[in-house]
Amino acid sequence: MTNKLLKGALGIAAVSAVALAGGIAHAKDTITIAVPSFLTGGAAGPFGIPAMNGAKMVTDAINKGTLPAPYNTKGFGGASASLIELDEGGGATKQVAEYRNLVEKRNVDAIVGYISSGNCQALAPIAEELKQFTIFATCGTPRIFEEAERKYVFRTMGHATSDNVAAAMYVKENFPNMKSYTGINQNYAWGQDSWRDFDLTLKQIMPNTKASEKTQFPKIFAGQYGSEISAMSLDKADLVHSSFWGGDLEAFIFQGAARGLFKKKISVVTVGGTAAYRLGKKLPDGLVLGARGPYGILVRDRDTALNNWFVNTYKNIYGIYPSGPAYQYGQAILAAKIAYDKAGSDASNEQLADALRGVTFESFSTTIEMKLGGGHQAATENGYGITKYDADEGENVVTGVKFYPASCVLPPDGVKSVDWINGGMKGAKC
């Protein structure tokens, strides 16, 4: 009697084991990707919405298999992805709670996005704790991979150090007679770090120039820069550096242009790319404009199948050319596809991380090498150009575009950005 029971139990156990194993090995048909971006507040217009649009467009194309080669296979490891759109606003505390909800309550497969450095900073340790495959798309702070080793967090975009190192190099090549410089940056981590990197780099490569004593750091979203523009007009500095973005940048441009500021001083706007298309003919000529890398107006004319597809499809759907954030989110989704294609649609977080670590791939506008931060941080080129309004075409263009390779503007693996700049940027290969 006991024998029969035993056999029966073993039989059931065997059948269950096979069923379970079969269940585990069965590939998934759909995966969910959460895409956090700024849907409300001042960052929505210039960053959040274009970013989300880029993500949606690329996901859609992947699901249908309409991307150009070599990405013309359908799906993410064959699975179709559904996106969960989230607002990145509300502060880091809120975002931490939301991130935990995404992972523990809503069981998403991957999380791709984030624009704010504050959010990325707060979430990187949480992602590691929860062992969740996460790709940061846009946030700029170098601290993510400098402060700790990460296993599950990736960033498919070069970090903010390259913005200002490249700016300084461009200034040195194009304005070698520049003697003194000042800056107007928003008074928070982004603005402070941008100025610091620009200032430190110039001290290294143009040691005979002088930084102004009275650099301006107005409150973010202040909107009124009359006094600051007056102060800079009075200042003898030849060059103005600004990492302003969004409404602040546009207000500064309107108010400054009305007062001839940009005719009197060389003006470097490191995130000008997001305003280039929105301002149209109101964008003053002669600005040294950056797009935080090979994105937006700086690469509009790059003639590759991938870029042409990206630019034309975006313009057709949204009526405007894609700016930086659209590219950045688009390429992050592309990276997710690459990971899933390699590891399979049912892959675990560890397998996905292994699949993406250290790869090199063609994104829409450039080559991305995941070789910094232990294979988790992308190295890409960064560059600048000078704005000009082309009256014949009726649109803005950039002239004199110059890109610097990643090895020239990003610190090597294991070296902190500030140390690297202060140490004379050892190992830079330009």
């Binding site: 849907l39 409300t40 507040g41 001042g42 929505a44 217009g45 959040g48 919405i49 008074n187 009275k214 650099t215 301006q216 750091f217 107005p218 409150k219 979203f221 202040a222 909107g223 009124q224 009359g226 006094s227 600051e228 007056s230 102060a231 007009s233 009075l234 969004g246 409404g247 940048l249 546009e250 207000a251 309107f254 108010q255 009305a258 007062r259 001839g260 500021l261 929105r278 301002l279 109101k282």
Partner: protein, 298 residues
């Protein structure tokens, strides 16, 4: 000398900006004892409405000078519609309640109106630079200044004088002052206090909308606009004293001039100026610079 003139003009310009933005709040605060958080919404709606129409009219090829008319019209329309809806719909039912509860109710309204702006106007910015471009620029104190910014000073002066005249030289002003001093007495003297309240609120809303509408040509009208001015206008109103237009004017002048000096001489402290002034003034004058006399009820 050039620097001095520049700092003075910068200070006056920023002070005018502060005053225009906070005049409406101070009136509502003075008469109705309500610190209206939704004031930021009046500003935002004024800005969006005027920017929207200036853009549209410009596309239609109409002369840029019409922009000024649009600004005034936008302020009036926004003030009347929003002011009326909010006062009659919500606030009227709350006058008996705790002051702080009313403030919080206006906070709830602010949140709602912010999202309605997103729904109505979207997340893209609106540009209405035409009036500013029209007035061009002028050389003063060794640098170039935009004339539009200088007209801000004029507008602030007009608003200040207009309010003063209304309060002190008209019968309506006397009624208003009576209600400010003692509402119950006002009722027993036969003043139609509910009407006074409604008209005052609408007036304050129009001024708030005017602030936004007039500033719109100098900025990019984008979401989040309203939140920034709330803190600033609160600071001015608190420094000036409840309901005192003179107080708001002096408060604006102090904050504006100090800030201009900071930006030119010590930019590092610019961030603190507004709140430091507020804290210092409150320590020495706990009810603001021009606090009204209050009867003591035993």
């Amino acid at each position: 000398m050039e620097t001095f003139l520049t700092i003075l003009l910068d200070g006056l310009q920023f002070s005018s900006y502060l005053f225009i933005v906070s005049a409406g709040l101070t009136i509502i605060f003075g008469v109705m004892k309500i610190l209206n958080v939704a004031h930021g919404s009046f500003y935002a709606w004024g800005a969006y409405t005027s920017a929207f129409f200036i853009g549209k009219f410009s596309d239609m090829g109409l002369p840029d000078a019409l922009g000024f008319l649009i600004i005034v019209a936008a302020a009036i329309v926004v003030g009347v519609i929003l002011g009326f809806i909010i006062e009659q719909g919500i606030l009227k039912h709350m006058y008996e309640r705790d002051e702080v509860l009313i403030v919080l109710a206006t906070f709830g309204l602010f949140l709602i109106l912010e999202d309605i702006i997103l729904i109505a106007f979207g997340t893209d910015p609106y540009f209405a630079y035409q009036p500013m471009a029209l007035l061009e620029s002028v050389e003063l104190g060794g640098i170039t200044r935009d004339v539009y910014g200088i007209t801000l000073i004029g507008v602030a002066a007009v608003v200040a004088v207009g309010c003063w005249w209304l309060l002190n030289k008209t019968k309506w002003g006397t009624l208003l002052k009576a209600v400010i001093f003692d509402r119950e007495m006002g009722i027993s003297m036969g003043i139609n206090v509910p009407l006074v309240y409604t008209l005052t609120f609408i007036g304050g809303a129009i001024l708030g909308g005017l602030g936004g509408a007039y500033i719109a040509p100098t900025i990019s009208v984008a979401p989040g606009l309203g939140a920034e001015v709330i803190v600033l206008s609160f600071a001015v109103v608190v420094v000036g004293g409840m309901g005192s237009i003179a107080g708001a004017a002096i408060g604006s002048l102090i904050i504006g001039l100090l800030r201009a000096i900071a930006v030119h001489e010590v930019p590092q402290v610019e961030l603190f100026v507004v709140f430091a002034v507020m804290a210092v003034v409150l320590v020495f004058r706990p009810e603001g610079l021009f606090a009204p006399a209050k009867p003591r009820k035993i």
